[in-house]
Symmetry: C2
């Protein structure tokens, strides 16, 4: 008996979740190739800034979501070029907003490296952002009006979310509703537009198109909520920027709106110049385990919502499994 090999592990009974990246690997490769070409400009400085940002380790979460949504809604190879272009357009728009956001917030670090602002200055970063917007606009020219409108509305919401966030900055009266309104516009709008456009391109039924928009919204909200928790939990190597960046900038993040009403000390700190010992103390207060757990539960509720829509509206397939996996990943990442 001693010579017998141990039994094979029973992992076959618990299949690993499908890898969302693998399922649309070819489509994503097409996104990367065309995206990279579209970053090139007659002005080398514009190309350099765009490549510096876009090649610098973005997760391509929006393209991945759009491509999986397209396939999960039954979209075939014949029109996948459209889904690829839509994925690129949304990544271009997202990248443009990153460049402009760093100018607005004075962000010096992005994805663990000096931001484009820190490296190239505000003038060149601003123009490179405009260039990326224009590239997206150029790419969308071939789409039908309703698709362009969906994308344009999402962009308009992004700008409105940015201003609303500024309006709420260091405002101790900010509520969870205010917060949700900001992140619906500032983060989730591109995901909801992506879900809608993907389903539309896949020629899904109107009901499914609406559902995929809602799924994108829930996914985007969950993504931002988790991002907000990571901002105070860190560590810096993991999140690619200093811990507490949002807090220092006075942004009303999820842990802020969840704790500030009940905690006078935190309220006082939030309205002050949050640096050094003040920042450390605020972080300490906000890392309170029950607070983090409540924040996580709010994100989990959005994840549940997205999963429920998926289960109700989409036929089972490798792509809907991958979409489910992508959704689950948002809450699992590093929390």
């Amino acid at each position: 008996m001693k010579n017998l090999k141990p039994a094979a592990p029973v992992t076959a009974a618990i299949p690993a979740p499908p890898n969302p990246w693998s399922a649309v690997r070819e489509d994503l490769r097409a996104v990367e190739e065309k995206l990279s070409r579209l970053l090139d400009s007659n002005e080398p400085l514009i190309s350099e800034i765009c490549h510096y940002l876009v090649d610098g380790g973005g997760k391509r979460l929006r393209p991945l979501f759009i491509l999986l949504a397209y396939r999960a809604c039954g979209g075939g190879d014949a029109k996948v070029e459209d889904a690829i272009d839509a994925a690129i357009a949304l990544e271009l728009i997202h990248s443009a907003t990153l460049l402009h956001d760093d100018i607005i917030d004075g962000g010096q670090l992005r994805r663990g490296k000096p931001s484009a602002l820190a490296r190239y200055g505000h003038a060149a970063s601003l123009v490179a952002g405009d260039f990326l917007f224009c590239r997206a606009f150029e790419l969308c020219g071939r789409f039908e009006e309703r698709l362009v409108h969906t994308a344009a509305r999402a962009c308009i919401q992004l700008t409105e979310g940015e201003v609303m966030e500024g309006r709420m900055r260091r405002n101790p009266a900010a509520s969870l509703d205010d917060y949700t309104a900001v992140i619906t516009r500032k983060t989730a709008s591109l995901f909801s537009a992506g879900g809608r456009v993907a389903a539309d391109l896949a020629q899904a039924a109107p009901r499914t198109i609406e559902a995929m928009e809602q799924l994108g919204l829930a996914l985007g909200l969950a993504f931002q909520m988790v991002d907000d928790l990571l901002d105070i939990l860190g560590p810096e190597e993991k999140i690619g920027k200093p811990v507490g960046s949002d807090l220092r900038a006075g942004i009303i993040s999820l842990p802020v709106v969840m704790s500030i009403q009940a905690n006078p000390e935190l309220r006082r700190l939030f309205c002050s110049k949050l640096e050094g010992a003040n920042l450390e103390r605020a972080l300490e207060l906000m890392r309170e385990p029950s607070l983090i757990a409540r924040g996580r539960a709010l994100a989990a509720a959005q994840i549940e919502r997205a999963r429920a829509i998926l289960a109700r509206e989409l036929e089972p397939s490798i792509y809907s499994d991958c979409l489910a996996s992508l959704i689950d990943d948002q809450i699992d990442r590093d929390l």
Copy 2:
């Protein structure tokens, strides 16, 4: 004989040039109404900044040019809504670039008033500019792909022109060719796109579409050249900003590239910090009458080019007369 009234003046024999604004008054009114509505946002601050800029006395030169070009190419009432939307889109894009240019140059005065930057700060001005780009993008959604491409290409050229201008800043080796390359992208691209789109919407022949693009290019170049001369001639009340603003910012304007090679004193001044006595001396050198005359002649050559295209390509009509008048006005304005 003393009781006789003096003879009526003989002005009837020399008809006044047609008023371009009157010829398309109704179309321009439609532009104003819809443009104003499109400036409204869910975020009051965005609406306020956009209205502050757009209602603040712009000449609407681009909409006027597009509407006249559309009519002069035979465009009728049936599709004038398209021409109106195109005119609005280009004015929105132009307005977006004004907001962003002021951030880049730190421009504190615009059209005789504090700039949006001075009044609302860089963050809000940046986002309001993005909002205006998105509105233009939204409006263009209903156009055919080639029209959207023309507009998007013009926007991309604007950003490239901005970077090229930055690259040439305080560069004493800048030539007239460099200058022409900058203003072709930074100013004339919206006029050439406007000419092209207007003729296309009017269903003109391909040859006429090309010609109107060239006419727009020449008009835009002349407009910018005259603007550059006015920048050093002033006075401030007329140009709405301090005299010598471009010079102080180190921008390679027309009088700069025309004089800097031959004048070592000016070359030295241009590379230095141009303020106070230095700025006054540079202005004095550049206001030399023969230099101004040569600059004016370069602008006049573009005016001639535009007029020749018009005479060759367009049927005589009240609209082509008005277009001719608009073209002539660019060189006559205040010089």
